[in-house]
Point group: C2
Chain length 256, copies 2
């Protein structure tokens, strides 16, 4: 299996750095090929700008159309093209980050902003003309898993914890970016209390990570609902008979 | 009233740029002082790094402690200090952005990552020793409002829309960053179908924006629950008698 490991921590000598090294070693020991996008080490530019699309700075800059044109005409910035090629190569993708202000660090958010251009991340169509998204797209058939560290203790990220449930905080990423582009999303692995991890806690986190990587291919993905099918109506709203009365992010899980 | 208007669109000749100009004009016509953080125009750096904290690059970089030390010792980068001063000056803050991949553009996410350092954005304590957060903090008493544009049509961001409900997609920002630091969060103003706004739709959006800015001071904020009080237990989990049985982000709204 080809695995792309994306990480976004400024310090290699951190918990994030240690977990990544353990994970990459474990994957290689299992016989997988691993490539990395260590965004800090790469000094990744996270800011969308016309420079990436060979767009005329004197013309009004429409992000979607200009990015699609550059994608089609193969004039996208080389660093974006390189990441798209890694994604095409990969069978599986790990997205690893410390939770900052309840989301991805900017350097990682901007990886999605810049790499998922129109024509690649969105705006592609199936033979019948429908837009491919939420379960189908250029990354269809690949598997993704989020590996996240959070400073707060686990209960604060539980179903009624003050910070909001982790799966809901990750919805925009897991559903809105990974599932949107067609990837199957495995349950995330979260390490809580990340500012004060004991040796035992660390050993347990590594063991869990190794177990996840070993069972990657047979793990059941999150049951997000497909756009193409009978769950959503023509306005892309859940039909009344689907999860009747349920609102919120859980309505979009087939077991929600 | 002093208003800080933060915006994050690469193109001033965009819908976002037009709405900002209308909004700033309206505020000034109402007699308010306005300062701006136009992040693209400022070429804002969104990436947290040791350089901001005068930290020794040879030492292991702990983001929280190093940022707190630099804040206390007044060695933070000048661009961060300038934003903190604008926030202190402001009575009200607008956070305006196009929704990209169901969240803030990286340049704006990194404004929070870099400006909300430990000692300013989090990690401050009240006289009794409790951590000030969720309803209390350095920005307590200020008002904030999100102004967001989204390409998808409104129903897709409704309670059962495929993209997830807008208030839930904004939870990490509105609850996790704005309310966390003590700000009162007004209901967001969202403009949908932003890629194909008709003249009528634009006029309606401007009218709504002007109305919001006119009634800013008397508008009821979102009823997020205070950490300090009786709603959460000592683990910061909602007590069983509070919104019994409710899970998900709505449990954290007092009318949820």
């Amino acid at each position: 299996m080809n695995v792309l490991w994306i990480s976004a921590h400024p310090e290699p000598r951190s918990l994030n750095g240690a977990l990544r090294d353990e994970g990459v070693d474990a994957l290689r020991a299992l016989g997988h090929e691993v490539r990395e996008s260590d965004l800090y080490a790469m000094r990744w530019n996270p800011v969308v700008g016309h420079e990436d699309y060979a767009a005329d700075p004197n013309e009004r800059f429409f992000v979607g159309p200009r990015s699609e044109q550059a994608f089609t005409e193969q004039t996208l910035s080389a660093d974006i093209v390189a990441e798209q090629e890694k994604l095409r190569w990969a069978d599986a993708v790990i997205i690893q980050f410390p939770l900052w202000w309840y989301g991805m660090p900017a350097i990682l958010k901007g990886w999605f902003d810049r790499v998922f251009v129109k024509g690649f991340g969105y705006g592609t169509r199936a033979a019948d003309g429908r837009v491919r998204r939420y379960g189908e797209g250029v990354l269809e058939g690949k598997r993704a898993m989020v590996l996240v560290t959070a400073g707060g203790p686990e209960p604060t990220f539980g179903p009624r914890g003050v910070n909001g449930a982790m799966d809901e905080l990750l919805f925009g990423l897991q559903h809105g970016a990974l599932w949107y582009t067609g990837m199957s999303v495995l349950p995330p692995l979260a390490v809580y209390g990340a500012n004060r991890v004991s040796d035992d806690h660390y050993a347990q986190a590594v063991a869990e990570l190794r177990d996840r990587l070993k069972t990657w291919e047979v793990t059941e993905p999150l049951p997000f609902r497909a756009q193409h099918g009978s769950d959503y109506d023509e306005d892309l709203v859940l039909r009344p008979e689907i999860a009747p009365g349920v609102t919120g992010l859980r309505a979009h899980l087939a077991d929600g």
